[in-house]
Symmetry: C2
Subunit: 373 residues, 2 copies
């Protein structure tokens, strides 16, 4: 038993000796799940057991432990990889996952993002400046009403229109009807504008339905997929991204993932959950709440996500950070400072509320970010 190891950095609350004891517990808990005296000598102790590679203070009462695990313990399967990273330890207060470092062997077992920033820009034909996206809402409208909204946004020059993340297959707006109508409307608008706006229907669904819906969407001309990995499991997104019969970009939505980041003492760092794990699981754009909106993410947390979406990660392409909400005219300059040009702004309610004319609202917002295409 030998081979590559991957590294997880945890922040652990406590004084130095108790934090170090917790780090030793993590090594056991995440692998053999028995007490140290029962661990057999030989490969189980030397290779399977987690190993503390580094231990140091971070700030008063918080220490960081970098622990390495044999890549093979993950079976190179995403659910089990998440389990080795944080499965049982998630149930312990005062321990948070701060960073992941994967080697080439492990990263090579997952296909990663298919498009990334450059791939998505190429499909859209927008090679500079930020991209913008809006969502079809409110739930309760008919497929035709959503299609009319999609047409208005697309004629205004928006890059991507996605389903609101709660639109699935409600009887008052069936999936197939909605997706077909909206894909047709966006196609019609593209013939007017000469652009290539993309429609991303929500394929979040019961496990056996996800792929059926994705294939239907691709067949009727959708331009990508929206999925909520917190609702379906991250592996469903990975499988979508890895499916050779499906060849469309993926946007990931954070629904139900909030409890994993709202505490500074448990869960995942924002950059891990909305950056590293999204790329590992094949997202081309990662939606998260923008700072200054109705959720509580700070400017620094948002900047860390943005950085994590774009930092080197094996042969994976960088992906679009997609901050949602909280965007006002006054904040555009600061947001461009934080995010730069490689960002996909998600404007939901803001684009609906500015005026009743969705096309004019879209054009106004494009002008705010310097887009004159």
């Amino acid at each position: 038993m030998s081979g590559e190891r991957f590294r997880v950095t945890y922040h652990i609350c406590g004084d130095e000796s108790s934090a170090f004891e917790k780090a030793k517990d993590i090594c056991l808990e995440q692998t053999v799940e028995i007490s140290d005296e029962l661990v057999p000598d030989g490969p189980i102790r030397d290779w399977i057991l987690g190993q503390i590679e580094h231990f140091a203070p971070v700030r008063d009462g918080v220490f960081q432990a970098q622990i390495s695990y044999a890549a093979e313990t993950s079976a190179f399967e995403l659910p089990q990889l998440l389990n080795v990273i944080f499965g049982n330890t998630s149930i312990k207060a005062g321990i948070r996952v701060e960073n992941l470092e994967f080697g080439q062997e492990l990263l090579g077992k997952f296909s990663g993002p298919r498009f990334g920033i450059q791939g998505l820009r190429k499909v859209l034909g927008v090679h500079e400046k930020p991209l913008i996206c809006s969502a079809l809402k409110p739930m309760g409208q008919s497929p035709q009403e959503f299609a009319d909204n999609a047409y208005a946004f697309a004629v205004g020059g928006i890059d991507i229109i996605k389903d609101d993340h709660g639109l699935t297959d409600q009887s008052f707006c069936p999936y197939n009807e909605r997706v077909e109508a909206c894909a047709e409307a966006v196609d019609r608008a593209n013939r007017v504008t000469g652009k290539n706006c993309l429609y991303f229907p929500n394929v979040t669904a019961p496990v056996q339905e996800i792929f059926t819906r994705a294939r239907f969407a691709q067949d009727v001309g959708a331009g990508g997929f929206l999925i909520n990995p917190g609702l379906t499991g991250f592996d469903a997104m990975r499988a979508l991204a890895a499916d050779d019969a499906l060849n469309l970009p993926i946007m990931s939505h954070p629904a139900l993932l909030g409890s994993m980041v709202t505490s500074s003492k448990n869960g995942f760092a924002h950059a891990v959950l909305f950056g590293q794990l999204q790329r590992l699981a094949g997202a081309d754009a990662s939606v998260y709440p923008n700072y200054g909106g109705r959720f509580g993410f700070t400017r620094e947390e948002c900047a860390s996500i943005s950085q994590s979406c774009r930092m080197p990660m094996g042969s994976y392409p960088p992906i679009f950070p997609s901050p949602g909400g909280g965007m006002t005219m006054e904040k555009v300059t600061d947001m461009l400072t934080v995010y730069g040009n490689d960002v996909l702004f998600l404007m939901g309610g803001g684009l609906y509320g500015h005026s009743p004319d969705l096309t004019a609202n879209t054009r106004y917002f494009l002008s705010l970010i310097g887009r004159k295409d």
Copy 2:
């Protein structure tokens, strides 16, 4: 647009007026996701929008809001139902899901637990007293070593032997080899004891593999399935429970779900996450960390889970609470007080550490809980 509504009770931190504002925000956020002034009059406002049914103080700085949603907004799909309950609101600090109340229509759309307490007791032939279960560990052993352990436990009279939740399909212990060897060993032991010990392999896997592994397990004589819904998504467990080609009981493990309960101000109440949602998603036994063990759940939290596993819930049967760890001779009396007889005790490291003889350890533990079968 009309029909049944379901009710979610949230605990909201804040003073009375801010908590009430947050409750109104939840009604919007979980359904239409636009600001109130943009909500159209008519069925979207009257039916789709969440409605505050009840608002009252709980304790200093915490208020409870019971909010109802049209069942149809869930599309009667589990991922979307979870989204309506807590999707975006999970990202807001200071809001926790405390209780769920579903009507007959919604519950009837999910098949629920197939076996429950009575069904599992019937298969095992153990009609009174608590059940006991152990786990195959540590990771790193070979299929044959695990099979030998399984045999030793089964000969000792244990009720259920499960894979440790981190055993999947590692190259050093391939799934098919392990499952076939352990199922055979338990069958051989049953012929010695005349009992019907069940082996539950871990079917946590990439999304397309879950059902392949479950079918294989059933074909080679496994007695049930272990799955980690925090790793696979809850819907994968629901689909296992609903699959007519699979007819074995399901044990659910809490890996990666910890961050959803470690804060008293966000996430889910223990009774919701480890009781109500497990039953909705078809678990026959719900594993969670016992009080007094190496995790931080309190006696009261554990009692609330146990109660939630067994309280009336439509036509669903009660299921086994399965507290893991923290069991010592001194605590048995108190644990029987908390849990009663309808409990499935999960003894992992404890059964390995008591002495090197797993068969003797099992018999000793059975005697502790008054089992003389």
